[in-house]
């Protein structure tokens, strides 16, 4: 009886350590958008999309169900087959300087944490445009993508958790199954 208890205690300690270690070391690619809520007050247009878990699984199954002659939907389904979550925030303002850039900077600070690697960094004085693209890899597998675009009148953040075929998405943009919505039109 005493031996059994000792084994159970040891197993529990090992499991707890493994869980804690994985939580710390296995960086989560999901960003926290709480600080962006302050933009809602002055925003003219707001788009929020949180798609993960069972809703995302349902959407993936739908892409397999739909059959179109070009096979675009199937391509989309293949591009997102490993996706675990996709989170979008878009805020558009009537005039310039109607939001606090520090909120976006705090979001960018999350991307300076270990695990994220900067892929692109573009700064343009035209419209005060700041573009950042970050990726996160777990070994050789992409585990997350983050795109943050802030301009004078708009802020757009896309956070993808899990591997996604970016080239396919860009290629299919504007075609039948992905409506081309140019959010940068002013």
């Amino acid at each position: 009886m005493r031996n059994i208890l000792q084994f159970l205690l040891g197993a529990t300690i090992i499991l707890a350590g493994a869980f804690a270690g994985s939580t710390v070391c296995g960086q989560d690619a999901r960003l926290q958008f709480e600080r962006l809520k302050g933009m809602e007050t002055n925003a003219r247009d707001i788009v929020e999309v949180d798609l993960d878990g069972k809703m995302l699984d349902l959407a993936k199954r739908v892409t397999l169900k739909i059959k179109d002659k070009d096979g675009d939907v199937k391509k989309i389904g293949e591009a997102i087959s490993g996706l675990k979550g996709i989170y979008v925030r878009v805020y558009r303002f009537e005039d310039e300087n109607q939001y606090n850039i520090s909120h976006v900077d705090e979001l960018r600070a999350q991307l300076n944490s270990p695990g994220w690697q900067r892929l692109a960094n573009v700064r343009s004085k035209r419209n005060n445009q700041m573009v950042d693209v970050f990726t996160m890899f777990s070994g050789d597998v992409m585990s997350g993508v983050a795109v943050v675009i802030s301009e004078a009148k708009s802020v757009s953040v896309v956070n993808v958790v899990g591997p996604i075929d970016i080239d396919t998405l860009v290629e299919l943009s504007g075609r039948f199954n992905i409506p081309k919505i140019d959010i940068d039109v002013h």
């Binding site: 159970l8 247009d45 929020e48 959010i183």
Partner: protein
Amino acid sequence: MKNDYLWDKTGTDPEIERLEGLLAEFRYSVDPAAASNVIEFPGRVRSDLKPWIFSIAACIAVAASALGLWSFYLTGGDAAASDVAQVQTETEEVVLPVIPLAEPETKTKVTAVNPRSPTAARPQKASLRSRSGRAVQQRIKEAHAPSALTKEERFAYNQLMLALSITSSNLQTVRRSIDGNEISDTEKR
């Protein structure tokens, strides 16, 4: 009475000897068969299983439980399933993106969130007052809305398409920005 006879049977004691004769039949016998009311139990069989096998089995059970709880935590549980049905009953039609190309008359807000989030607002039907916004919505509806899909499936699919469209748009913006910077650098040279 002679005490020696009782002690080591030396000497004689007629009274004790008479009592011994009378009680002789009740004398203890090492032969078990002599006592008919003695039930013999078989010796305890020692188990061949080592006690540490049970310990390992217990550890495996604990590990399996922990993994199950962990995966349950990660996937967010099954509560979302019932919430999805509840959301669908509340909305008459799916929420579609409202990103009008022209200036809208009033502020519009489209919230399309996963109902699992505790801070998520319920999807609201947007008030579309711009013609271009209605055109976008109509285009999305006509583009890919197979009638065989259920309301939940259509909602999930539209959410996915909206997210992917914004993602691809952002990526194109990145590409344009990078290309634009490369062109300006080339021109400067």
